[in-house]
């Protein structure tokens, strides 16, 4: 694997940030699998890559503040792309789209106050259109039950939007009342605020809120509309193990569960906070996005460059599971194509020679023999061809084994096998037949 000879260079290459992110994303959370197979993975690849690239820039080691800022934006835009570009989501979730322009997204990320309707809890879908997938991107609001950021808290509703999102996400239907609830309740905007009563029942994965200026993932304070973050009236002085550390007036510090929040955060860190919050608090409901983000984070924070490189190298090896799968698909598809071409040519031969009264001629048997021989040749070359194809794909894709695999899985059925089957048409006989004579 010559193209893996210099792992260091490979890891330091700009493209690796994307690849590593994608690889880690996939490895950490099985995001692509969660997308319904490799085929879907490629479909979402552009957005995911951008998202992860941004994440890598933001969270990776030795990153400057600017890198992190632009990485975060990139990540956001990746998320934007992820959904903006796609039309069909896995799990029959329906259609997602219509999130505005990049400018809008950027604006909403950086200036959330201008968008009162902004909420990560808002399902990123056009309710009423049969869609139901939550989105990482800001929602322009409008047709769904808007969850505003300025309403009073409902402390006894720990995951105010989760249920609806579950129903929407799975069924793709418009909001339906939960069992036991009324239509009015179901359609009423429900919000919580960080300034409300403590709701320590946020459960595992309860998200920290935004940390202006702080490093994402290491939130320092909870940003709220009221100024300094507090939980239960006690100021938050830090975080540890997913819990907030609050300090009472006597200076004693306590661990406290971070309450559920949906208030708009400030700045980039707020954005990621919401991402993390959303993904962690709705691991199933958010499905893909949660998995992606979760996996991304797990991967980026939990794996070293060496781990990623080793895994990438392993997976790009022709003996890897991905390569095996790629080659299997390649050969299967190619064999199917060869068989199809063979049958087509055979049918054409039969038809033409039959029409010509030449079915019992040596010309026909010779043509058939050539055809059969070509098919055998092509079939016998498939293992080698698939290996070559894998190497080519892996090389072309370069930095990302997973991207390569995903691409290959999708591309294999679409590869142009004409160069292979062209052999069938090389004989003068077939050419003359093709000429319709």
């Amino acid at each position: 694997m010559g193209w893996f000879s210099d792992v260091t260079n490979f890891l330091s290459s700009p493209g690796f940030r994307i690849g590593a992110g994608v690889a880690g994303l996939a490895a950490g959370a099985g995001a692509f699998e969660g997308l319904g197979g490799f085929g879907d993975a490629l479909t979402y690849g552009a957005g995911a890559a951008n998202l992860v690239s941004g994440a890598a820039s933001t969270f990776g080691p030795n990153r400057s503040a600017f890198d992190r800022a632009t990485g975060a934006l990139q990540m956001g835009l990746g998320g934007y792309n992820l959904f903006q570009n796609e039309t069909t989501l896995p799990f029959g979730a329906g259609t997602v789209g219509g999130y505005g322009t990049f400018d809008t997204v950027y604006d909403r990320i950086t200036n959330p106050d201008q968008y009162e309707e902004f909420s990560f809890y808002k399902p990123a879908l056009g309710i009423g259109e049969g869609t139901g997938m939550p989105s990482l991107a800001p929602q322009t609001g409008g047709r769904g039950d808007i969850i505003t950021t300025t309403q009073t808290a409902q402390p006894d509703v720990p995951t105010p939007s989760g249920e609806d999102e579950v129903r929407r996400g799975i069924t793709g239907a418009a909001a339906q009342p939960l069992p036991g609830s009324t239509d009015a309740q179901a359609t009423m905007p429900r919000t919580v605020t960080a300034t409300g009563p403590l709701a320590l029942a946020g459960g595992p994965g309860a998200s920290p809120s935004a940390s202006p200026g702080g490093m994402a993932g290491v939130p320092g304070t909870i940003a709220s509309q009221g100024g300094g973050a507090t939980i239960g009236g006690l100021p938050v002085v830090g975080f540890a193990n997913g819990q907030a550390i609050v300090q009472d007036a006597a200076g004693r510090v306590f661990r406290a569960a971070i309450p559920q929040m949906d208030a708009p955060s400030q700045g980039f860190s707020g954005f990621f906070d919401r991402l993390i919050n959303y993904a962690s608090s709705n691991p199933m409901q958010a499905t893909m996005s949660a998995l992606q983000i979760g996996g991304m984070l797990v991967s980026l924070f939990g794996r070293s460059q060496a781990d990623i490189a080793r895994e990438a190298m392993e997976r790009m090896s022709p003996g890897s599971a991905d390569a095996t799968e790629f080659r299997r698909l390649y050969e299967e598809r190619a064999r199917r194509e060869i068989d199809r071409q063979y049958q087509e040519v055979r049918s054409a031969l039969d038809a033409k020679f039959s029409a010509r009264g030449m079915m019992r001629s040596t010309v026909y048997t010779t043509a058939l023999d050539q055809l059969e021989r070509s098919r055998i040749d092509l079939s016998s070359n498939l293992p080698f061809n698939s290996l070559q194809a894998w190497n080519q794909v892996a090389q072309n894709m370069g930095q990302s084994m997973r991207s390569a695999a995903g691409y290959a899985q999708v591309a294999a059925p679409q590869l142009d096998f004409s160069s292979m089957t062209r052999v069938l048409a090389q004989s003068p006989l077939t050419q003359s037949l093709a000429a319709g004579r």
Partner: protein, 479 residues
Amino acid sequence: MVEKLYPYNRFVGLDAIADRRQMGERFLEICEHAFVDLRGQINKLPGYKIKPGLTTQNVMYCENFGNNVVLYGQHNAGTIDLKVYSAGTTVATGWAWGSNLDWCQFLASEYVFLDGQPPYGWDGTAWSSKTVMFPAAIRGPCAANVLSRLCVAGYAPTRTEIAVSKAGLADFTVAGSGAGDAARINIIDDLTGKDEIVGLGTFEGNKLAIFCRNETLLFVADPNIANWALLRDFRVPIGTVGKRTIKRVGNDLFFASKFGVHSIRRAVNGVTLESITFSRVIQDIYARCIENLHATWEPRSVWDPDKGQYHLYMPQIGDYWGRFTFTIEPSGRQPHLSWGFTPNAGIADATYFNGILSLAVPSVGLCDDDHRQETDTSKMRVRTAVLYQGAPQRRKNYKRLLVRASGDAKFRVRAYNEDRDLIDDDVMSNYPDNDGSLYTPERPIDVPFEHFAYGVQLEFESEDKGDLRIMDFALVAEV
């Protein structure tokens, strides 16, 4: 009673399906050793004369090989010797006398085919047995060349297969898939029934006509063997009775079947092909010949473009040869089609090249047709239909016979009444010179013809050497 002249001219030819008393007056009941030309005049066919330098031999096969070079088969102790006229080069084939040979020219060589035997080839200098060129599997009885390929067919056991040589090469080796490669084509699936190939011909230069016993197919040839194609929309539901009856006649392809003489030709519209039958008018005679066909010998034929005649030689039981002479002038709005039939013409085969019609006469040898050869005893006999001169039920008092004729052969005229009773055995006996010789007649022959009859049949007969043409005649009768 008023004397009235009744002229008869513009004859058509033999009519073998109508009763002599009811057929058209321009038709002939008998037309032996004669033909009616496109002007409607009755002509005596030429006799034959052995070619210079040859002695009398039993010759039954012949085929031209260029100008005044004729290949022929001569009897030799029950077998066939192939010889070359006039070089005399001979090869003893060992083939049984009477075998049905086929001839085909290919790449400047003449090949002689016999079923199951390696063909012989004459390359212009020597005979040779083509055992290598023709492997045992493809030693068929019939052959044709088309688009620089030699085709052989009818070989056992696959008698529906055609072996096609390489383009421009005397090589039947099937190898590769190039355009010019050799091939085998089996048409068994395209035949409507159990059949076998018995003859091959070339039509329009690019079509291979495949004659089976019961049907005929056409293959459109192509320089690329892979592009050969059976003509699906054209099929003649008639086979051939002899591979040597297949002759190119202009752009048409004539052949004889058990039902008659047919032509494959392009229709007037220029797009489609058609097959027509010419021999309806002689159906009865033709059928009798087929019934009496020789057990092993096959009919042969020759096309004489000078005279526009297709001669069909029919071997009969008893080892003699009948001959149908089909005179055709296809041009014009009313194409002239005329039949004659000679029960025992004595000619087994013929070949034409450059104005020379060479004949294989078993009793004489390889001959030329010649009006003036001394030994010609061929008897011309032409009998008209019953001529009534008006109402058939009214009896006529005939007065005179006028004949316009030319040539130097003596002839006689017999007369029969409507019941074919002979009423005058030699009308010409009263002719002044009493020899019937009318080489350059200045005026019609006018002889007394005083008979009572409801109708008369005239029979013109000539056994003399020389040519003879009966242009027309007339009867003067009181009606």
